[in-house]
Symmetry: D2
Subunit: 415 residues, 4 copies
C-alpha cells in the first residue's frame, strides 16, 4: 500500500479532518502535502459532499442536498519542481471504495445515485423528472447491484469525477468573469445558469485569517470542468489512465475527489454516478514546458485505461436536435440531441417494466457510451447512446414478440 499523503476519516465531515481539504478552487489554498516526481502515493477521499446521504429507501436526503458544500476535495498535493507551463503527468494506479468498514458512509460497501430536484440544480432530464430520487447500490468486489434497480449487474469502471491543478490568479479571475457574464443573461433562472463564488460553507483547507476570507470571496465553485481539469466526470479516467494536466501555479497543487464506482457518459442525473468515498493511488511526473511543447494550452490531455470491461453487444438509441414534444428545431445542438437519445432510451426501458425514474437512474450510472455521431448535418446534430445488453439478466433486445413487461419495483422517492 503506497504512502498516504492525504488521509480521511470517513466517519467525519471533511471540515473536521485532521488536515481538512477544500471545496473551492484558488491559488492560495496551502499545500497539504508535497510529493516528488516519480513518487507513488495514496490520496483518501470523502464522497463528493458532506451532506449526509443514507443507505435508505427515502430520497429526502437527496432532495435536501446543500450544493454549496460541494465538492469535498482532498489536497492540494504539491509536486516538487512543478512550474507554470509544465504538464503534470498523473497515472491512476488504483482506485476503489473505502477498504475497511468503519461506519455507514458511502464507499463502505455501498454507494448511491441521486436525481436532484429541479429547484436544487436538477439534472439532464429535469424538465421530465423534476423531483428527487435515489438508488442505493451494493458493491460486491467489482460488481454493483441495486435493490432499487432489479435485473441489472455490472462491473464498475471506477474513476474520480474530479481532479485538477490549482488555477493561477489570472485564470481564476477569467473564470469568475465569464461565468458571471453567463449568469447575468438570465439571473433568475431555475436551475441557475452557473454558480458564482459563495463565501458561505467555503472550506479553504488550512488557510486562515485574511487568506481564508479571500479564498471564500474569490474561490471558484467546483461543479464544472475548466482549464485546470476539474469536474470532468469522464468515466474513462479509470485505473491505468494517464492524465496530462496543465500547471498554472508553482508546485501544481493537485486536488480532487468525487470518486465514482461507475458512471454513464454524460452522468445525466447530475449526482449521477455511483457516488462513494474511497482511495486513489497516483504516480506523478513532469514534462517541463509541456504545455508549449504539445500545444496543450487549455484543457488536459489523457490516455484512457484499458482494464475497463469491454462489451461486444449494445442496444443503441439515437437523438437529434429536435424537441419532438413541441416540434421545435435546434441548430446543431448536441446537448438537445443527446437528451433526446436519453429520453428514447427511457421510453424503451419503460416497456420492460422499469419506471421512468429507474430508467433515468440506470442510464446515469451504468457503463453507457454517449457519442457525438454527427454535428455538421444542418440543422440536426445527431447523438447516440450505447447500452450494453450484457448488464441485464434478461434479453433486452427487440424481437418479434415484443418485450415481456413485468414489475421491476421502484427507486427511492422523496416525500
Amino acid at each position: 500500500m503506497p504512502k498516504v499523503v492525504f488521509s480521511v476519516d470517513q466517519s467525519k465531515p471533511m471540515r473536521d479532518q485532521q488536515v481538512p481539504g477544500h471545496n473551492r478552487w484558488h491559488p492560495d489554498i496551502p499545500v497539504a502535502a508535497m510529493v516528488r516526481p516519480g513518487e507513488v502515493f495514496r490520496v483518501e477521499c470523502r464522497e463528493w459532499t458532506d451532506s449526509q446521504i443514507h443507505n435508505s429507501d427515502s430520497a429526502n436526503d437527496v432532495r435536501d442536498v446543500d450544493l454549496s458544500l460541494a465538492h469535498m476535495l482532498s489536497g492540494p498535493i504539491g509536486v516538487e519542481g512543478a512550474e507554470p507551463g509544465d504538464l503534470l503527468v498523473v497515472d491512476i494506479l488504483d482506485l476503489g471504495p473505502v477498504p475497511q468498514e468503519t461506519g455507514e458512509a458511502p464507499g463502505q460497501g455501498w454507494g448511491y445515485t441521486g436525481i436532484f430536484a429541479k429547484a436544487n440544480g436538477g439534472g439532464f432530464l429535469t424538465d421530465y423528472f423534476p423531483d428527487a430520487y435515489k438508488a442505493i447500490w451494493d458493491f460486491n468486489g467489482i460488481y454493483a447491484t441495486s435493490r432499487h434497480l432489479p435485473g441489472i449487474r455490472y462491473a464498475g469502471i471506477t474513476h474520480p469525477g474530479l481532479f485538477g491543478t490549482a488555477p493561477s490568479a489570472e485564470l481564476l479571475a477569467d473564470w469568475n468573469r465569464r461565468e458571471q457574464a453567463l449568469i447575468d443573461t438570465d439571473p433568475d433562472r431555475v436551475p441557475a445558469l452557473g454558480l458564482p463564488p459563495l463565501a458561505e460553507n467555503t472550506l479553504a483547507g488550512q488557510a486562515t485569517g485574511e487568506v481564508a476570507t479571500r479564498i471564500a470571496r474569490e474561490g471558484a465553485r467546483t461543479v464544472p470542468a475548466r482549464e485546470n481539469g476539474g469536474n470532468h466526470d469522464i468515466k474513462n479516467f479509470t485505473r491505468g489512465a494517464r492524465v496530462f494536466y496543465p500547471v498554472h501555479v508553482k508546485d501544481a497543487k493537485l486536488s480532487g475527489g468525487d470518486l465514482h464506482f461507475s458512471q454513464g457518459d454524460g452522468e445525466i442525473t447530475f449526482c449521477g454516478a455511483i457516488e462513494m468515498g474511497g482511495f486513489i493511488d497516483f504516480h506523478v511526473d513532469l514534462i517541463k514546458g509541456g504545455m508549449e511543447k504539445y500545444g496543450v494550452s487549455t484543457n488536459p490531455v489523457f490516455m484512457p485505461g484499458n482494464v475497463e470491461p469491454r462489451y461486444s453487444e449494445f442496444i443503441s438509441f439515437i437523438g437529434i436536435s429536435v424537441d419532438h414534444d413541441t416540434n421545435t428545431n435546434y441548430y446543431l445542438d448536441a446537448t438537445v440531441a443527446y437528451r433526446r437519445a436519453c429520453l428514447n432510451a427511457v421510453e424503451y426501458l419503460k416497456r420492460w417494466g422499469y419506471t421512468g425514474e429507474q430508467a433515468y437512474l440506470l442510464l446515469g450510472s451504468a457503463p453507457i457510451e454517449g457519442r457525438i455521431s454527427g454535428v455538421v448535418d444542418i440543422p440536426n446534430a445527431c447523438c447516440s447512446l450505447y447500452l450494453p445488453t450484457e448488464i441485464f439478466d434478461f434479453d433486452v433486445r427487440p424481437n418479434k414478440e415484443g418485450p415481456v413487461k413485468q414489475k421491476r419495483g421502484q427507486c427511492a422517492v422523496s416525500s
Copy 2:
C-alpha cells in the same frame, strides 16, 4: 452475390441511371423495387453527390460543390407487408466500394474527404478553416492511406452515412414547418441555419408530371437526420449492424446511400468521411406494430456491428463549453465542448508537423470516438475525443523530449 434490386452505373450521374434514384424525402416517390421480409438483396449507390470530385491535388472541385444536388439516394425499396407503426429490421450484411474499376468515380480504388468553404455550408470548424480543402484516399483492401496525409493508415469502418424510410405526408409537413421556423430566426446567416425545400435540381426517382412537381416543391432536403433515419452519419452502422427503422408509409420505402469508407464521430469536416460509391447488402424483416411495442416513436434504434477494428490505446482530448478565444461561457453546450476538443486535437497534431487543415481532415475521417462525457456540471458541458495511437506510423504519445516536428506535406487546397 445477392440479387441487385437497385443498380448504378458509376460512370453516369444518378439522373441518368436506368432507374434513377432521388435526392429529396417525400412519401410519393414511387417504389423502385419490391422485396419481401426475410430477403437478402444488394443496393448499389453513387457517391453522395453528382457534383464531380476528382482524384487530384486541387480542392477547387470541393469548393464548387452544388449542395442542391445532395444526397443521391438509391431507392425507394418497398418491403411487402410493411405498414405504418411497424419497425423495419435492417441487417447490414456487407458494404464496400465499387468492386470493379470502370472509371474514375470515387469508390473505384479511391475516395476523398472534403472541407467545404464557409460560404458553401462550411464544416464544424468553419470559423477557423473557412476555405475548401481535400484529401484523396487510396483503398488497399481494408486499409486507407492518403498522399495528402502521410504517416497514417487505418482499416475502414465502412458504413452508409444515410438510410431511412419515407416520411408520411404529416411528418414531412412537420419537418418543413419546424425547419423553416428555425431558418426564419436568422434568414441571412452564412452558413444557413437550414435547407428548405428547393425545386431546383430535385430528383424525384421515377415520378413524373404533377407528382414530380409536388415532390420538388415539398420534398425535404436530405442533409439532416430526422425521425425516418436519414443522414445519421453514425460510423457504427457498419457491417453486422442491425437497425430498426420506424415505418411511416405503406411498404416502408427504404432509401439511402452516401457510403463512407471511414469516418470519425461527428464527421466534422461536413463532407468529412471518406466518400465513395459502392454497394450495400441488406437483409430485411418486420416487427409488426413494433413502434408501439418498443416505444420507438421518434428515432430508429440500432445494434452496432462488431467487426470494426478495436483499439486499445488512445490519446484523448477534452473540450468544455467555453470559447477560450473570447473567454465566453456557454451553458451546457456539448456542441461547443466537442468543437473545443477538436481544436485541441488540431493544435496537438500541428506540433508533429501536420498543417491545421491536414489535422482537420484527419479527425473527420479517421476512426476517432467523440464522447459526451459530462452534460450536467453547470455551466460547462465536457466532451472528449479519442484518437487511436495505432493509426500513426510514429509514436504520437506525449513524452519528456517533446514531439519530433517534421514536414508532413499538405492537403489539396483551392485556388
Copy 3:
C-alpha cells in the same frame, strides 16, 4: 481492385487453369508471376482440393475425398530481390469468397465443413466420430449460417489456411527425412502418421519433363505447417494481418490457398474450417537479412489483424491430459488436453439438442479460441476452449433450470 497476378477459373480444376498452380512444395517449381517489393496484387485461389464437394445433404463426397490432390496452391509468386536469409513481409489486405457467381464451386455464396472418415485421415476426434460428415454454410455478407446447424450465426474471420515460401533443397530433404523417420515408427497406422512424397496426382505448376518428374518424386506434401509457413491454419491470419516469412530460395516463391470463411482454433474436424475458393489481396515487402536480424530462423512471425469480431462473453471448457474413458494419464500432453476440452464441449452441446456430429462440426468452424492454459503442472497439461455465447440465437449459458433440449436437425451424413 488490384492487379490479378494469379487467376483462377472456379469452374475448372487447378490442373486445367491457364497457368496451373501446384500441390507439392519444391524449390524448382517455376515462378508463375513476379512482383516487386511495395506492390499490391491479387491472388485467386481454388478451394483446397480438386475433389469435388457439392452443396448437398449427403456426405459421400467428403467420405471419398482424395487426399493426394491436396492442397491446390496458387503460385509461386516471385518477389524481386528476395534472397535466402531475408524476411518476406506479407500484408493481407483483403480476402473473400469468389465475388461472382459462375457456377456451383465452393466460395460462390456457400462453403462447407467436413469430417473425414478415419480410414481417410480422420480428424481430431476420429476415435469418437470415425465416419464422414458435412455441413453446408451459406454466406450472406460477413455472416455464415448453415441449414445443418440451426441456431447459430456468426461473422467469418476469413483467412488463408495455407501460405508459404518455397523450401530450399536442403530444407526439403530435411523434411522428407524426418517425416519418413516418424512414419517408420508405425508404418501401418490408420490414420497414417505422415504423408510422404507421392508422385501420383502431383501438380508441379508449369514444370515439365525431368524437372516435373523430380518434383513429383521429392516434393513435400502440403498438409502440415513447416519452416516455410505452410498449412498453419491460424485463424488470425485474417485481413489486416502482417506475416514475416523466412526466405529460403531466390525470389522467395510465395504460394498458397486453402481459403477459409471461418475456423475455430485447432480446425478440429481436419477439413474443419468453412472451405471455399476466393481471392486474397497482398502487399509485400522485404527485410533484408531479417532472419538473422530478428532471430527468425525457423517459423514465421506474424502480427494478427484487428478487424475480426471480438466477443465479450464465452462459455469455456477445460480438458486435462487424462483419457477419462480408460483413466489413463498422459504426461503434459496438450494435444490430449485439448481433445478432452473438445469432447467436454461436445457433451455440453448435446444437452441442448445438437447431435455429437453437429457439435463437432460447429467447434471446427465457429470462432472458438483454443488456449494452452497450463503445460507445467505435472503430469497434467490443461487446455481450454472458449465458445462465444453470442453466436447462438438462444441463451447457451448454464442456469438453474437446466438446458431446454430441442431437436436441432442433423448434419449431412455418408451412406
Copy 4:
C-alpha cells in the same frame, strides 16, 4: 469488505495459522468454515508454498524450494446443501494481493516469478534453462514492473492458480492409480513424471490422529489440474469469472490458493506466474443435479471475466511439433509445438538485449496468449503465442533497420 471465512496471518507459515489449511486433496479433510448458497465471503491465502522466497537478487531461494510443501490451500469451505452431482457456481468478485503491509512475504507490495532447477521439477524449457532463476515484481496498483526485467510494464490479470472441490474417495483412488501407472513407465526420470502421495510435509487442515495419517498416506498432491478443478493455472479465472465446479462430496468442500498477480498462458516457468499471497472474494450458488443436466461429468466449465486488459496489437510466434535441434518430428504434439513457439519468442527477445532467462521469465508472467492453432495437419501440430506489443516501452515490432539491441540487465540467478 465481505466476511472473512478463512483468515491468514501472512507473517506465519500455513501450518501455524489459527485454522491451518491443507496441501493435499482428500475427502476427509474437515471443513474449516461453512457458507450458504447466495453468500458472499472472503478467503485469505498464503502464497503457494511455505518455502520462503525473498525480495532479493539471488535465486538460491527458488533453487532450494521444497516441492513437498506445495500448495498451501485455504479451506475447505463447506457449502450448505451441496451434494455429489451438483454444480457449485463460484463467482470471483474480487482478488488482490495482501491489502496491508505486515511483513516481507510475497503479496505485500511485491511478488516473484521463478524458474525451477531441472533437478527440482524444472519448467517448460528446462532442457534449455536447467538452472534456477527469479524475477521480483513491484506492484503499483494495477501495474507490475520488475527491476529484473526493465522495459516492460503491464496491468495484472489477477487470478487464483488453484481452486477446486474435494474428490470423493473413489475419484481420489482413480487419480492415485493412474498417476502411479504413469510414473511407473519411467520411475527414475528427472524431472519426475508425476508426484505420488507423500506423507512428509503433509498438512491436513484440522484433521488429527488416524484421519490425518490416512490423509497423509492417500492424499493427492496438488500440482496438476484434475476432475475437481485443482491447479488449472488458467489466467482468465480473473475477477468477474464464474466457474462451475463438479461436486463430488457432501458440502462440496471448496479449497484453493496459489494467487497470481499475472501469468502468461502455459505458466511456462512452472513457478511462472507472479506469485503472491492475498485475498479472494467469492459468491457461491448451486445448480442441483447440474453435472447430469449439463453433461459436466469431468472437468469444470467456466465463463471468463471481462475486466482484464484487452490488447489490440501483438507480435506472434509460431511453433510446430518438430524438434529443430535434432530435426525430429513428433506426431500432432501440441506440447512440442508450443515449446517451439516459446523458444522462437525467446530468440526474438534476445535480439533486443534480454538474456534468455529474462525472456523466459517474461513469457511466463506477462499476459501472453497461447493458442492451439492447428492439431490435425499431420504430422505437425501448430501452436502460436501472442505477445502484446504495448507492454514494452520500446517499439518491439520488426522493421527494416533491425532491432536496437541494448543491455537490459539480468534476472536473479542462483549461485
